[in-house]
Symmetry: C2
Subunit: 148 residues, 2 copies
């Protein structure tokens, strides 16, 4: 079994699209992350885990001092996603370019697993001929490893 | 909205149960992580992200030298889950006890989001009266933040 036999189609977001669109995709499809591409290339530029998108609904003063989370009132908390309006996907990516969890179409599941575990990523993007072919999630990889 | 209004029932695993059972649960239910409890308590002991379970199907020599992943043949790779037989959940947890992504039943979504983002966890366990009440995933939290 090779990465391209295992991967699935996943929604892709462009780096300069609205951050709220990414949140909607993650929420509606219950995804644990998204692959980000640039406007000019179909090669994955980044992977954005859902747990990191969550950071952007936390006010800056709470990120600086977690103890302050308890002072945010329920009504303020319920409008959390408003913080994202006007922001783009690019604004949610780390300032320093990170290692991208990416595998080649002909990689074995061990090669995919090694990248996923090392980068602690919930998903790995599979690339074939320089283009995104699909996505492998951790649970999908484990399901494949069980089938002997 | 409070954490207990948002959480969902999730399978729970006991710390001394078979590692393969956890892999099966993650694979069959397509979960991004599991809550681990001890035999004597219903309080969460740890959260085991699926991406970290994946590490245990990677041979030790590949973890030490990722370049060796390419020498693992396809037929060896396809039997990856066999490495887990005989192991328990406890064997898959980090040796040093880690911060547990946990929230109280009456926490706001900002408090849940703060914990999730800080610990980079795909899920947060919600505790009420000392017992596990449910689990909140990142995508579930984002869906709640969108509903205004």
């Amino acid at each position: 079994m090779r990465a391209e036999d295992l991967d699935e189609k996943f929604p892709v977001v462009k780096i300069d699209s609205a951050a709220l669109d990414a949140v909607r995709l993650l929420a509606e499809h219950r995804l644990n992350g998204l692959v980000v591409v640039t406007d000019t290339s179909e090669t994955p530029f980044a992977v954005l885990p859902a747990s990191q998108v969550v950071r952007f609904i936390v006010p800056g003063y709470v990120q600086d001092d977690p103890g302050l989370a308890s002072v945010v009132t329920e009504s303020m908390a319920d409008h959390a996603a408003e913080k994202l309006s006007g922001k783009t996907i690019r604004d949610m990516l780390p300032k320093q370019r990170q290692h991208i969890p990416v595998a080649d179409a002909d990689d074995t599941i061990i090669e995919v697993a090694e990248v996923m575990a090392r980068l602690r990523s919930p998903l790995v993007a599979v690339v074939k001929d320089g283009k995104l072919h699909g996505v492998i999630t951790a649970s999908r990889l484990l399901a494949a490893a069980l089938k002997e």
